[in-house]
């Protein structure tokens, strides 16, 4: 048993900390978030140069083979800096789908380019009626001579605007809520019939509604086995959920640090408000939640790497449930303890609060994961 970071992870952490310190102050982040594509292509290239994009991928495709535990340091830093670049959308969701479901040819044509920062992916899995049920897919792909004809609507597709390919989950057979009959398709975003409506998200990122109207793709666009994509989708979303739990740890750490700092400087009733025990105990609650979250984020990453279904789903759900708790213990309390300034757009705290809040929703909220946890 060893729960210390490996040397590679520590080195990665150091270079990420330097990057955040020099390139990613809050002002610059806000500027980036509010213009154009919502992030910096130059930063993306720096990530590629630092080797960041290949952390979890197999070495034969140019990755570092550090697996899910390697992602802990990346995602924690992304949380710490409220990083806008599409690491989750393109590398974790898109890249893991290709790594897990793709055939050799697909992997070779996509992964090295993805890791080099030359190509980006997005994953369209959410549907209007589906909520968190990954099997509730109405989008249809019908077999035609030489390929598939796809029709449907996909919602809240993160970073679709700058993706070169969209991976779409579609029903190739079965009823709307059946786990069988779901397939994945890798679609060039410029394919005729693919339309986008891009927007900013409440936490400063970018997403899109994607319409697929009589989109014709070749048979080679099929990613993984026909009708059998459900387990892959579930596995990749577990990996992504484990990753955002590590991101949450980074966010919570910042909220705790900034709130404690504020308690040490803000004066009322002729003293710093950190002297008040009722406030001290609340930041201690934040600290404990942070440590417990960190524990569960590590556990989830380790279990994802081990690859056993039961322990994976159980630990990922546990980490997500705890992130839901952190929303009230950390995010809401951080805003409360900052007083009025905590609800202004000007202060970074409000933006960490927003991200942590939305991380609770992403990949299934606390209630969803409590149910899933109980069933395993």
């Amino acid at each position: 048993m060893n729960l210390e970071f490996t040397e590679e992870m520590t080195m990665l952490q150091d270079s990420l900390d330097k990057f955040l310190q020099h390139e990613y102050d809050f002002e610059s982040r806000q500027k980036l978030s509010r213009q154009g594509i919502g992030y910096s292509e130059q930063h993306w290239q720096s990530f590629a140069d630092m080797g960041l994009l290949g952390v979890a991928f197999d070495e034969q495709y140019g990755g570092f083979g550090l697996g899910q535990t390697g992602l802990i340091v990346v995602m924690e830093a992304i949380g710490k800096g409220l990083v806008l670049e599409p690491y989750l959308a393109s590398i974790i969701l898109g890249g893991q789908l290709v790594q897990q479901a793709g055939n050799e040819q697909q992997k070779e044509s996509i992964l090295p380019a993805l890791i080099a920062g030359e190509l980006k992916l997005a994953f369209a899995y959410v549907e209007r009626q589906g909520r968190y049920n990954l099997a509730d897919i109405a989008c249809k792909a019908e077999k035609q001579s030489g390929g598939y004809l796809i029709n449907g609507q996909k919602s809240v597709v993160f970073n679709a605007e700058t993706a070169d390919h969209i991976i779409v989950s579609a029903r190739t057979s079965g009823d709307t809520i059946s786990k069988e009959g779901i397939s994945l398709f890798l679609i060039d975003k410029n394919t005729k019939g693919v339309d986008f409506r891009h927007y900013e998200t409440v936490d400063g990122l970018r997403a899109s509604e994607v319409s697929l109207n009589d989109v014709m793709v070749e048979s080679s666009a099929l990613l993984g086995e026909l009708d059998n994509a459900y387990a892959t989708i579930e596995s990749v979303l577990d990996s992504a959920a484990a990753a955002i739990c590590a991101e949450g740890v980074g966010v919570v750490g910042q909220l705790r640090e900034k709130t404690v700092e504020y308690l040490k400087t803000r004066k009322q009733f002729n003293q710093v408000i950190g002297h008040f025990q009722v406030l001290q105990h609340r930041v201690v609650d934040m600290f404990m939640a942070e440590e417990q979250m960190r524990s569960l984020a590590y556990l989830a990453a380790i279990r994802v790497d081990e690859g056993q279904f039961d322990t994976r789903t159980k630990s990922v759900s546990a980490a997500k449930i705890y992130m839901g708790d952190a929303r009230s213990i950390v995010a809401e309390q951080a805003a409360q303890l900052h007083g009025g300034i905590g609800v202004t757009d000007e202060l970074d705290v409000a933006h960490y609060v927003k991200r942590l809040t939305m991380l609770n929703t992403l990949f299934g909220d606390r209630d969803y994961h409590l149910q899933r946890f109980s069933k395993v």
Partner: protein
Amino acid sequence: MDLKYTEQEQAFQQDVREFLQANYPADIQQKVAKGIALKKDDYVRWQKVLADKGWIAPGWPKEFGGPGWTPVEKYIFEEECGAANCLRTVSFGLVMLAPVLMQFGTDEQRKKYLSDIYNSDTWWCQGYSEPNAGSDLASLQTKAVKEGDHYIVNGSKTWTTHGHYADMMFTLVRTSQEDKKQKGISFLLIDMKAAGVTVDPIITVDGMHVVNQIFLEDVKVPVENLVGIEGDGWTIAKYLLQHERTYIAQVPRSKKQIDRLKTLAKKEMYNGKPLIEDSQFSAKIAQVEVELMALEMTNLRVLSKLSAGDSPGVESSLLKIKGTEVQQSITALLMETVGYFGFPYIKETMLEGWQDEPIGPEEASVLAPHYFDWRKSSIYGGSNEIQKNIMAKAVLGL
């Protein structure tokens, strides 16, 4: 990063498991599993078995007779003991006083006390709290006045666990009045059979007798029973607490209790289905399980740091708070599981030898008393609020 035990650790785990299977008395096991009150003899009997094996004092350095285990091995031992429903060894002598004697005691004191502690030949109790010194322990008023080669001790100690079993008591007394209340406190060993020592039982909310109030009236204590130097008691008390808390979370025990809870919730029916299938009830179990998973991992992270050579820090406060919260949540859920059958109070069911027909589910009648009794856990060992004060100061710098 991985959670797998090394081959060596797995072999150790197997050794422990086999030893417990072969040597842990079945009657004690049954008592622990059913929540029946344990007697002095139960403790002594089991502790002597462990002492013979050389496993009674995992925290002691090798030169004093400790087994020389790594932090992970200590955890494995605790894990296996939890899984086997082992009785928890009494910590006053083994875990609290012994490290103090090793660090601050004289050679004579070590010679006189350590082997009796190791062999469970002396039963120690702790004389810390007083009627007017609880969370504010440093305000304690029990006085020790030096007269020749004795201290004359007057005052009262309370919440003394198993004081009625004890041969000796380690205690904090005031030897002088100073400008700061933490100064002028000394660490004194008192013979419970000495003239002037009275033990009064305190019956707790479950109807049982575990804790006591101790009255000390002109008790003569030889000066050689002073540990460390006079006035150094507070430093010693803090040192003792560090040793108390590394395994305070009691994760293995709580895991066993979750198993017990699930087994019971599968048997109890509600709306024609096992209670465990009720979505609201199962969500409540899930929430405790999640907290416990996090706690276990936090505990392991602390151990991993210890293995890497770091010393234990304020994590112990976190482990104490979360550990006791989990324990209390489980006792509450256990009580809720049996619904109306929490009502019957038959004290004898908590005692050895009760054979009558149970009212409602077997085990049910101990669950409410245990729930009430377990409220103590967030109060003792430094209340959870005090733990938060400690963390606010030590971790967050407030």
